[in-house]
């Protein structure tokens, strides 16, 4: 067995205690954090950056609660090291609403359709659906289910979440038409 001192020496030897500077653009703002290599991006977002809207459920990529947008596409923040995201753009659930507080179409739809109960999984659904509607702006029910297929919810039974996806697409299209 290795004793604690030896273990400490070994990690020193491999640079395991080294701290890395990470520069991120988070919800449009430049942010920096100093993190060890082992820091998960999800923990960096919550603890180093103080954005606790990103929820951590299973921490091995199954539940989808920690999903964020990395350069615009959804990824699991618990399946990335923070140091690996250096230089990239991140959108968390805090970045979905307009600066004046107007809910995004997906957030508005969740409110209208009762798309959440306890709310734990909701940040992951909101980010996932936001990106999903960019590639599939007019989903049918099967496509709506496909968009949220990688996210788990233990309360709703998914009916209202699927309804929220369809409603979000309507709101999105209405808002676009309104602006045009």
């Amino acid at each position: 067995m290795t004793d604690a001192t030896e273990l400490h020496d070994a990690t020193e030897l491999h640079g395991a205690t080294e701290v890395h500077d990470v520069r991120l653009t988070v919800n449009g703002a430049a942010r920096t954090a100093a993190v060890p290599a082992r820091r998960l991006l999800s923990d960096c977002i919550r603890h180093d950056l103080g954005l606790t809207g990103t929820h951590v459920g299973c921490e091995h990529g199954v539940c989808g609660a920690c999903t964020i947008l990395l350069d615009g596409v959804p990824v699991r923040s618990c399946l990335m090291l923070a140091v690996s995201a250096d230089g990239q753009q991140i959108t968390t659930v805090e970045g979905l609403a307009d600066p004046d507080g107007t809910l995004s179409p997906v957030q508005q739809a969740f409110t209208e359709c009762h798309g959440l109960q306890c709310g734990f999984c909701t940040p992951g659904f909101l980010t996932t659906i936001t990106a999903g509607l960019r590639t599939t702006p007019d989903p049918d029910e099967a496509q709506a289910r496909e968009i949220v297929g990688g996210n788990l919810c233990r309360c709703t039974g998914y009916q209202n979440i699927v309804a929220s996806v369809l409603r979000a697409a309507e709101i999105l299209n209405d808002r676009k038409a309104g602006r045009a």
Partner: protein, 301 residues
């Protein structure tokens, strides 16, 4: 559920990456998409002393069709391969199988080459590479080698990559003009690892009848299991192939094991059913492609 303390390098070029791998050697892991590696780190099932992050090696972010092969660079994400129209034409099986790889959020980050190197016997892409007789190109500071699929998958979660090597690209042969492919799997939930899955390919001869058929199974052995099904179906017209005989032959050639998800018998049953489904899809595609080739020949003459 947090990774252990780790050393970390993020080289900007392949040559730098190879130099680091040569210097660090054993105890070093390459981090690409990390969709399998990071959970292994968090669960402390893998405890490398050092990670070499290849996410800055943009030179390996390619997908291209060249010289009869689909070349997938080590930094090409599953989503990128799945969306590539040239790839879909050259080797339709890739998109068919990639649709079963986890979920969009995982495919956005996970790499196809990483999935091959990870060599999970329940994963789709190793079975595809094995079926097609593809290869993986490995580089080290000493040079390069190309390892064919049947030597690449050594065992569960074990591939032929040495600690000093970097898998730089995967090579998937282009589908012959009179061949077709199919993919089918059963998983407990959409996007989960398969309880049993199969990729199949059939080739039609000049007479439009089946000249060869084979299938590659996931989740029924320690590595992808490729079985020859030609004996059961050779010479038959694609519309009237004896699928039951092919499924029976597959069942005889496989030796599935039981685990918490399924008994060995249930897996064998699934293998038979899925063989029929995948073959049916492959035969349909082969027949369509055969007829399309015939039309081209007729128009030319």
């Amino acid at each position: 559920m947090k990774p252990p303390p780790l050393g970390y390098s993020r080289p900007e070029s392949v040559s730098d990456a190879l130099a680091i791998l040569a210097a660090k050697g054993h105890g070093t892991k390459v981090l690409a998409g990390g969709q399998s590696l990071v959970p292994l780190l968090s669960m402390r099932l893998a405890t490398p002393a050092h990670l070499v992050d290849i996410n800055r090696l943009h030179e390996l972010g390619y997908v291209r069709v060249e010289n009869g092969q689909v070349h997938v660079g080590a930094l090409a994400r599953h989503a990128q391969v799945l969306a590539d129209k040239a790839v879909a034409q050259a080797q339709p099986l890739l998109a068919k199988a990639l649709g079963f790889v986890a979920h969009a959020a995982i495919r956005n980050r996970g790499t196809t080459v990483g999935s091959l190197v990870h060599a999970d016997p329940a994963a789709e892409m190793p079975a595809v590479l094995a079926l097609l007789g593809g290869a993986v190109r490995l580089a080290s500071s000493d040079g390069q080698r190309e390892v064919p699929a049947d030597e690449f998958f050594v065992g569960p979660l074990e591939s032929a990559v040495l600690p000093s090597e970097l898998a730089t690209e995967a090579l998937f042969p282009v589908l012959p003009s009179t061949a077709g492919t199919g993919f089918a799997e059963v998983s407990r939930r959409r996007g989960d690892y398969a309880v049993c899955g199969v990729a199949a390919m059939v080739v039609l001869g000049d007479n439009g009848r089946v000249s060869s058929a084979r299938a590659s199974f996931l989740s029924v052995g320690p590595s992808p299991q490729v079985v020859e099904l030609t004996d059961a179906v050779v010479g038959q017209p694609p519309q009237a192939v004896d699928l039951t005989a092919a499924a029976k032959l597959a069942g005889q050639l496989l030796d599935p094991e039981a685990d918490i998800h399924a008994t060995a018998d249930y897996r064998r049953h699934l293998a038979g059913v899925l063989t029929k489904r995948a073959l049916r899809e492959a035969l349909g595609e082969a027949n369509d492609r055969f007829n399309a080739v015939g039309q081209v020949v007729n128009e030319a003459s």
